[in-house]
């Protein structure tokens, strides 16, 4: 899947999980840029993304990301 398509699907997940249709994330977006993206919501996002792409992140993965793009790297590395 190319990156723009992954980003589009991730955006849909963000909108649903944060219950906010205004939210848009780009590859450079970090948690502090988005209202309500706290450590708790982060877990919900992680689980929703896992489910959507049918992949599992490791604990290392979850700790390692600095922005949305890095998370997308992990998703792609899992063969998506």
């Amino acid at each position: 899947m190319d990156r723009s398509e992954i980003l589009e699907q991730i955006n849909a997940i963000f909108k649903d999980t944060l219950d906010n249709d205004e939210v848009t994330v780009a590859e450079t977006t970090i948690a502090a840029d988005v209202d309500d993206w706290d450590s708790l919501t982060h877990i919900q996002l992680v689980v929703a993304i896992e489910k959507h792409f049918k992949i599992k992140f490791t604990s290392w993965d979850i700790q390692s990301w600095n922005n949305v793009g890095e998370m997308m790297n992990t998703i792609q590395a899992k063969g998506i």
Partner: protein
């Protein structure tokens, strides 16, 4: 079932007007999602759970410090969730020679938590039992070795059951059974645990919240009292009218086994006090034939309180069952294999529970087990007698039609009542009646066995329990009153409730005569009543007015000095 995200959306909705319950949640793991789930799931059930969430891993500090926020909060319910993972950490740090006494020490701690909470708060405690973790240090040998973690964890779960059976205000939320049902892989997600200290997976949280709410609802008098059964392809395989007695499937062979086991389940529910009714599109004599003649039928006509088989709609028939039983539709469960009938009943009878039975009868039981429909917080001996009581009620309904004058009918019943104050013999039934009665209930206060015992020992109260018996049979204990001495002249009617089985018998006249005479004997001049409306008790809206009380500033007052005894066809034994 709604997922976490859907439940979270409920949090933004309007909770005003919902029944408010103060809950304190104490967890040794991260609890933010559980709080959101509980509150969101509560909204679905018209409850406004005001939740105090203690700081992370502060269970013991909150409980043993009497000046903590927990005690200031004065919760109605305290939920304690000590996780198996923290239990394992604690075991890991235990000296090896103490392994075998690990569970005993834990249960002592839990008992002291219970004591501290109940000594200092008017509260019920819901304690989550432990999901199993096998640390595989001993393999299968852990089942033979008391020092293994699994041995100690299972022992602790058993000791929790024993403790709960002894402590009136302790209720166990069976987390372990959820894990047994869906598997550890679905309850626990290691990567999330490591990163956040959350021990429950996001997917399982709604189920845990639902299971917790089952207890909270039952504590608040909301539970199922009756099962209404379809017959063909629901309790036996095949269609009795077409296939005939010899060809319906029931018994130990093949698919018949599924129906036999299903019937045993229904029978156990009946023994537990759930009322069983039949509602079938059939000719009555044909529908009854298997009950009378088929050797493999587990259910007999004796087990059925109301049997309706005709060609009217099921909606009409369920209305008729409701009139005979006099219980709310929301306490009824309707089981039917036919999706059309299910939809029709669901759409036309608000509140009734209509499970989507699976297509394959072999799956009926497993499916129904998971729904946990029959939560309760008490059982009494009278539960087992309930079927008979309602069968008699159906007979009475027939006799009543023969009398045109109501007083003649009442007189013909030869009614007798035993009036007692609360004592150790009637306490379980009194408490249960307070939990079950919704309609004829002026203030809808729920009491546990322990509450009733405290009240009966207190000097501040007069208590009354009324039984009713007539020529058709004994209704048992059907009404209770609690009068509080407000001052030298006034008795406040804290609770007045009655089972709806005995409506329109003139019981309220006997009750009023009795309490007025008690007031006289003890020098009180005024009875003070209050009506607190709920969604269920409109029946008694004018109760005090009809009995001659006068409205004054939110309360109903009766001057007992000029009271004349009301006519009554019930004699006191």
């Amino acid at each position: 079932m709604k997922d976490l995200n859907q439940l979270k959306k409920n949090l933004k909705k309007d909770f005003s007007g919902l029944k408010m319950i103060r809950v304190a949640l104490l967890c040794d793991s991260a609890s933010q999602f559980l709080v959101q789930c509980l509150r969101g799931a509560g909204f679905e059930q018209e409850l406004n759970l005001e939740i105090y969430e203690a700081d992370f891993d502060q269970v013991n500090q909150q409980v043993f410090d009497l000046s903590s926020e927990l005690y200031q909060y004065q919760p109605d319910i305290v939920i304690i969730f000590n996780s198996s993972h923290k239990l394992l950490l604690s075991y890991n740090k235990t000296k090896t020679d103490k392994y075998s006494s690990f569970a005993s020490e834990q249960i002592e701690l839990i008992e002291s938590i219970y004591t501290s909470l109940t000594d200092n708060l008017q509260t019920k405690i819901i304690y989550y039992n432990y999901t199993e973790i096998d640390d595989s240090v001993f393999g299968n040998y852990s089942c033979k070795n008391s020092s293994s973690f699994l041995f100690q964890l299972r022992k602790l779960n058993y000791e929790l059951i024993v403790l709960a059976s002894q402590k009136a205000n302790l209720y166990i939320c069976d987390l372990s059974s959820i894990q047994n049902s869906v598997g550890k892989g679905n309850v626990f997600q290691s990567s999330i645990y490591v990163n956040t200290e959350m021990v429950l997976s996001i997917d399982i949280l709604p189920q845990v919240a639902a299971r917790t709410l089952d207890i909270i609802n039952a504590l608040n008098g909301k539970f199922k009292k009756c099962i209404i059964l379809d017959l063909d392809n629901t309790i036996w395989g095949g269609i009795i009218g077409d296939d005939g007695l010899e060809n319906i499937q029931i018994g130990s062979l093949g698919i018949g086994k599924a129906f036999t086991e299903f019937q045993y389940w229904i029978k156990k529910l009946k023994h537990r006090g759930i009322i069983i009714a039949v509602c079938s599109k059939n000719t009555e004599s044909v529908a009854k034939e298997p009950f009378e003649k088929h050797p493999d039928m587990v259910l007999k006509l004796d087990d059925i309180s109301v049997f309706i088989a005709n060609w009217e709609t099921k909606v009409d028939n369920i209305h008729q069952i409701q009139q005979i039983l006099n219980i709310g539709f929301d306490s009824m469960v309707f089981l039917d294999d036919n999706p059309f009938e299910r939809n029709m009943v669901r759409e036309n009878i608000p509140g009734i529970c209509v499970p989507e039975l699976p297509e394959d009868p072999a799956e009926y039981l497993e499916y129904l087990y998971k729904l946990n429909l029959f939560e309760t917080v008490s059982v009494s001996n009278e539960d087992a007698e309930r079927t008979k009581l309602y069968q008699i009620e159906a007979q009475r309904a027939v006799v009543q039609k023969l009398f045109t004058n109501e007083n003649d009918f009442l007189e013909s019943l030869n009614m007798q009542s035993v009036v007692q104050s609360f004592n150790k013999f009637n306490t379980p039934r009194v408490a249960q009646l307070s939990q079950r009665s919704n309609q004829y209930n002026l203030r809808t206060i729920r009491y546990t066995d322990n509450d009733i015992e405290q009240i009966s020992l207190s000097e501040d109260y007069f208590t009354f329990a009324f039984t009713l018996e007539d020529k058709f049979g004994d209704h048992g204990l059907i009404s209770m009153l609690i009068l509080k001495k407000e001052n030298n002249s006034t008795l406040f009617i804290e609770t007045w409730l009655m089972s709806c089985r005995v409506l329109k018998r003139g019981m309220e006249n006997l009750v009023l005569n009795t309490i007025v005479s008690k007031a006289h004997e003890n020098g009180f001049t005024t009875l003070k009543g209050e009506f607190i409306p709920t969604s269920k008790n409109a029946l008694v809206e004018n109760h005090y007015k009809d009995l001659g009380f006068e409205y004054n500033n939110g309360y109903w007052l009766l001057d007992v000095s000029n009271y004349k005894n009301k006519a009554c066809f019930i004699s006191v034994k």
